[in-house]
């Protein structure tokens, strides 16, 4: 009997490696890594100077400035891989920030306050999940409703910017460890640490558990039929990804509060779009079914680097960032479109 097709174990190892490297699944991520490298090269060439552009300090600053975005993007990655979307995260960030700013002066212990903040995020995610899974409402609309809900609740809590003066919170925000000196200085702070831990947790959850693989299966776009026929639970998975995203939004709210040391009802407007953009730039397919957590991390770095480059270029104005991000998004979406079209 002749054997069927395709590279076999008898083919040389390098060919298997080559085929893996050019695998369609990795193409979007390869694109984002390439973009990142390209930007670093451009940065090095233009602003390298004596100390160089790519320094531990740059990396550290990127992570510090974008840790909350990374956390949001991790949650969003789960949702987008299932083919959904979560528009509520920006509003949830504002809500949790204000809740922290309001509860701490009441004398509640810091850990309790932080836990409440995270749980508020989870609850918001749960509402979306129930609407999507039980009532079969489009994720876009369901999360839009919760966005207004969270924003409205935030407005009820306060319409003023509340400074967070709690000592414990301040020391948590200030805590950091530094390695090296000057340009080579790498500063590690609490927010960064949280984001990195979540990155690892997200990575294992998505790539090394049955739940994570089900997330991908749901994203093929047959309403989870194939996954259900394989004997896995699609419905439950859809519910959970929104809870994950909401929880991440709660945590991101804490990180953002640590970053700004305040809570304000108007923070986070459009932050959901930043998160979605970072995820897409990180190579996750917006129609669902494909993407990588580490790709998302790259996407967040690209996102942060765009801002750095634009400010170094002297185009300090915010509009260039938006236009540039829009353009990058456009290119990525079109490339994705052709990759997925070829699949069919």
């Amino acid at each position: 009997m002749t054997t069927l097709t395709s590279p076999t174990s008898t083919t040389p190892r390098w060919r298997t490696a080559l085929r893996r490297a050019t695998d369609r699944r990795y193409m979007p991520v390869a694109g984002s890594v390439l973009t990142l490298v390209l930007m670093l090269v451009v940065g090095e060439m233009r602003y390298g100077g004596s100390s160089g552009f790519l320094t531990p300090r740059l990396v550290s600053n990127l992570l510090v400035d974008n840790s909350y975005l990374l956390v949001l993007a991790i949650g969003m990655t789960f949702v987008i891989i299932t083919g959904g979307i979560d528009l509520s995260v920006g509003a949830v960030v504002a809500l949790t920030g204000l809740v922290i700013a309001t509860l701490l002066p009441m004398g509640l212990p810091l850990p309790v306050v932080l836990l409440v903040a995270v749980l508020i995020g989870s609850a918001m995610g749960l509402i979306i999940g129930v609407m999507v899974q039980v009532f079969d409402i489009q994720p876009f609309i369901a999360s839009l409703g919760v966005m207004f809900l969270a924003r409205g609740l935030a407005n009820v809590v306060s319409v003023n910017s509340l400074a967070i003066t709690d000592e414990g919170f301040a020391s948590l925000a200030a805590w950091n460890v530094t390695f090296g000196e000057k340009a080579n200085q790498f500063r590690l702070n609490a927010a960064m640490l949280v984001a990195l831990v979540l990155l690892i947790v997200g990575f294992y959850l998505l790539h090394y558990t049955r739940f994570g693989r089900t997330v991908y299966g749901v994203g093929v776009g047959d309403a989870g039929n194939a996954i259900d026929l394989m004997g896995l639970r699609a419905g439950r998975t859809v519910l959970w990804v929104y809870v994950i995203s909401g929880t991440c939004a709660g945590i991101a709210g804490i990180l953002f509060a640590l970053y700004t040391k305040s809570g304000y009802n108007l923070t986070g407007i459009g932050m959901e779009l930043d998160a979605i953009a970072a995820v897409v730039i990180g190579g996750t397919i917006l129609t669902g079914g494909g993407g990588y957590i580490l790709g998302t991390a790259v996407g967040v770095m690209v996102y942060g680097l765009i801002q750095v480059l634009i400010s170094r270029e002297g185009l300090g104005e915010a509009w260039w960032t938006k236009i540039f991000i829009g353009a990058v998004l456009l290119v990525f979406v079109i490339v994705q479109r052709f990759l997925t079209a070829r699949r069919r």
């Binding site: 174990s9 558990t209 049955r210």
Partner: protein
């Protein structure tokens, strides 16, 4: 064959009802270890439903399922799998964006602690695949492989659960000949190992090649269980379509509509080598003005696919189409309508009615699209068209403002006919125009078709009811296993019996004209 052993699956009196239809009505089915058992029937006969009851997708309203001597009720696919029943569904029901290894192993993935052990998973998957003589990289993305290999991956997945029963639902529908051979080799091996295999296919050749036993279903009822060598093809086909052989011959002299004269001149429609890969083999077809040509074949044989190519509903990947002697390209249905070709789909619900629009709008739709978006058909003209056709086709209730979804199936069908006739087409392609409508309405539609042809319209008439085809058509084309084959001239000697024989014929024998 292991006649002596007891059946591994025994289903008795399975009944399941969906809103409005009894999908299965008291069906019995048994499956022995080490046999290939073909489940036969036309589309809608209840094959898929029976399979889904056995695999726990549906819960039967009544009846018993005994697996390995134990009575079971499956409330989910996972429970059926635990009982050793594995399924490879019609469409490869795997997850294309995951790797081969995951598709084979997921649900039974080897783990270290809470985490999937990828290395062990790939190794295990490679082993299961190797047993089926498939050598692919388990890390490859499933959708990057050919459909045949994906199909084998699905079977490999089925073997992971240590299946006692393997259900193959139309596994060959998208395979090439040599790939089918590979698949059958695997099936035979599994059979040797004592696995009971339930096989469903539209291809009679394949059924006769691989199966030991058959169960025939029709309209949700059991027709009977037979040993394959003891059931000739012809008999099988007549059992599937529901007429005893004798009965077929005794159907009374129908008013055959025979050509008055031989058609000459340019045909209205001429297809040369028109075909689409995986749907229908390239075919030739001629249709003259005033002529009705019938297409007969089992459901799923490729007759609908052929019709869709003529209308431009699907794009052909080979061949040419001529209308009135001029070569045309029909990139989309609108172009066909502008060339005075109309097509009524067999799938009324999905491809016909626009349920939330009114009867009036549904009738006017095609006339309107021919005229373009901006030139709205005047109200008076629409009223006239709507009145005329509601009257002529006797559409009930006679209220053009009703939403189409609220009409009965038969009246919906008539509204659709009105939609196409309103465009005054020169070529009308009718796919199952009388399905699901009552006898009176059927006769009306048949009369109408003949009348239209008498006035010069060319009609391509597709139906599962052979008498109907014979009553209206001048010539009949047989479609068999995706090939549009023999052309027969209608006449007193052409009976349903003959059509059944032709459909059941093995292609190797060729046309015995």
């Amino acid at each position: 064959m292991s006649q002596a052993t007891s059946p591994v699956v025994e289903m008795t009196g399975i009944t399941i009802e969906f809103p409005g239809v009894k999908a299965l009505d008291g069906v019995d089915f048994r499956l022995f270890p080490g046999e290939v058992h073909a489940l036969m029937g036309e589309n809608g006969a209840g094959k898929s439903t029976l399979i889904k009851v056995l695999t726990g997708v549906y819960q039967a309203g009544a009846g018993r399922i005994v697996v390995d001597g134990v009575e079971r009720t499956f409330s989910g696919t996972d429970e059926a799998q635990e009982a050793g029943i594995s399924t490879v569904y019609q469409e490869v029901n795997l997850v294309g964006n995951l790797s081969v290894a995951e598709n084979v192993m997921l649900g039974h993935e080897p783990r270290t602690g809470p985490f999937i052990s990828w290395r062990a998973m790939r190794r295990a998957a490679r082993e299961y695949l190797a047993r089926l003589h498939v050598d692919v990289d388990p890390g490859a993305e499933l959708s990057s492989l050919s459909v045949a290999v994906q199909q084998l991956c699905a079977i490999a997945r089925a073997t992971v659960v240590d299946a006692k029963v393997l259900i193959l639902d139309e596994p060959t529908s998208s395979l090439q000949k040599n790939e089918v051979d590979e698949l059958f080799a695997v099936v035979r091996e599994l059979k040797e190992r004592g696995v009971a295999i339930l096989f469903v296919s539209h291809f009679l050749d394949q059924v006769y090649e691989i199966s030991d036993r058959m169960t025939v279903l029709r309209n949700g009822r059991l027709v009977g269980e037979y040993l394959t060598p003891e059931l000739p093809r012809l008999e099988l086909v007549s059992k599937m379509i529901g007429r005893a052989e004798g009965e077929l011959g005794s159907i009374e002299a129908r008013a055959h509509r025979v050509a008055e004269s031989a058609h000459d001149g340019t045909p209205r429609v001429r297809a040369v080598g028109l075909g689409k890969h995986g749907r229908v083999e390239p075919f030739d077809l001629e249709l003259f003005p005033g002529q009705i040509v019938g297409l007969v074949g089992l459901l799923g044989s490729g007759r609908t696919e052929a019709a869709r190519l003529i209308y431009g509903a699907d794009r052909p990947d080979s061949g040419e189409l001529e209308l009135d002697g001029k070569r045309v390209r029909l990139p989309h249905p609108n172009a066909a309508l502008r060339h005075d070709v109309a097509f009524s789909s067999e799938d009324r619900k999905r491809e016909g009615i626009i349920g939330d629009l009114t009867v009036r709008e549904n009738i006017a739709l095609a006339v309107q699209t021919v005229r373009g978006v901006w030139r709205r058909v005047p109200k008076k003209e629409i009223d006239e068209i709507v009145d005329r056709f509601m009257e002529a086709l006797n559409i009930h209730p006679r209220n053009p403002a009703m939403l189409l979804k609220n009409l009965s199936g038969g009246n919906q069908q008539k509204v659709l006919l009105a939609r196409w006739l309103a465009t005054s087409p020169k070529v009308l392609v009718l796919d199952e125009p009388t399905r699901g409508i009552d006898v009176g309405a059927k006769a009306e539609v048949q009369r109408l078709v003949i009348e239209l042809a008498d006035r010069g319209m060319s009609v391509l008439f597709i139906s599962s009811e052979f008498e109907e085809v014979l009553r209206v058509s001048e010539r009949v084309r047989i479609v068999r296993d995706r090939v549009v084959a023999d052309e027969l001239v209608n006449g007193p000697e052409l009976t349903s019996q003959v059509l059944v024989e032709r459909i059941a014929q093995t292609p190797e024998k060729g046309a015995v004209a």
